[in-house]
Symmetry: C2
Subunit: 195 residues, 2 copies
DNA sequence: AGCTCAAGTCAACGGGCGTGGACATATAAA
DNA sequence: TTTATATGTCCACGCCCGTTGACTTGAGCT
């Protein structure tokens, strides 16, 4: 093979990018380092050189995707609508896609022994905590978990299980119900919404 | 090795049982046929002989677990409470554990290319349809998907992500909120509960 | 131009995987 | 008791994996 141009920073990014793409579509176990390196136009051995191991590469991908979750000026008031957007895949802004991909990247590799700890940590730090910190009142983590359960479940149903009964009918009623559920889950009072 | 006693039906069941146990705890990709055969006290080659392939074995495990979901006399009225039981892991009856394991078995191997089709079919046939058939009114599949999203999400959070913010505080409030969410998700009217 | 070292490639290793064919043995019929 | 067949074991093949060490080549400096 003719060796590629030598630019350490660029190839590192290229590998990170192709790894992110691969890990997003297939799970941690089902993607090989040769696939990732191939996409980046680089030899496999560079993975060990740059990231130490496959786990290291995966960790770096999760770490690199950090800080983009909830960044687009989401407040306590707009949170339910924002979650509804993610859950119904209607992207208001370009950033929503990034957020959804982050979540999906985490969910895809959730049940992989090698990636489990990394995934769990990333989830707690990058998606659970931000939401919990955004809402105030009692048991913020519990209420955030409740809302995120709905988001996670619907994402899995639509993306992985390919069920998508949410789009067989009109989207608006679904969005309406979703919004109500998110508001109820995040609300301080157990029943309904109490300002 | 001293050959085991020769009983085709018994060994077949033993393999099915150990496979079910393994597939429940690890995902499809992360369990080897040698593990399963080892647990059953049998040689690996019998998997091919009895089930054709690993996929065949997995399919048979899913098929064998069929018909136990929602079997314990759950009605439209008791459905929300039953879902809450599953989501909070409080087992009223012994059967609840079976139902939860079924769902978990499906979720664990959901993102495995080889098992995806099998898992998706099993989910639709064995968990989504029963729930959709139990509720009446418009868009039963959509409402069932909504409720199952919550169940799936909370199950993943608790079992795979090991978050379990649901049990850091008292369980009763969580169950109360869960119940309200399930009822709202399954309700005919978009807002709240309307008998 | 020549030198140097980071940057990249190549080949191979040890290991685990699913699978298939050849062989052994317990069971049941003759 | 002999025979036949279902049942189970053993062995090895081919494949893909992550990782490593030795080699090659490009870029930048003097």
């Amino acid at each position: 093979m003719s060796p590629r141009v030598k630019n350490a920073a660029a190839t590192r990014e290229a590998m990170l990018a192709s790894a992110g793409r691969r890990f997003l579509q297939e799970s941690y176990e089902n993607v090989g380092l040769r696939d990732i390196a191939g996409d980046a136009g680089v030899d496999v051995a560079l993975v060990s050189r740059y990231f130490g191991s496959k786990e290291g590469l995966f960790r770096e991908v999760l770490r690199g995707a950090k800080g983009e979750w909830l960044d687009a000026g989401v407040t306590r008031e707009t949170l339910p609508a924002w979650l509804t957007c993610l859950a119904t895949r209607v992207h208001r802004q370009e950033d929503d896609r990034q957020d959804l991909e982050r979540l999906l990247l985490i969910l895809r590799s959730a049940s992989s022994p090698k990636a489990a700890r990394i995934v769990n940590d990333s989830f707690r730090e990058n998606v659970l905590s931000p939401v919990a910190n955004l809402i105030d009142g009692d048991d913020p983590e519990m209420r955030a978990s409740l809302a995120l359960s709905l988001l996670i479940g619907s994402t899995i149903l639509r993306t992985i299980m390919e069920v998508d009964a949410f789009s067989t009918c009109d989207v608006d009623p679904v969005r309406e119900r979703m919004l109500a559920l998110f508001e109820s889950a995040l609300a301080q009072a157990p029943n309904g919404e109490a300002a």
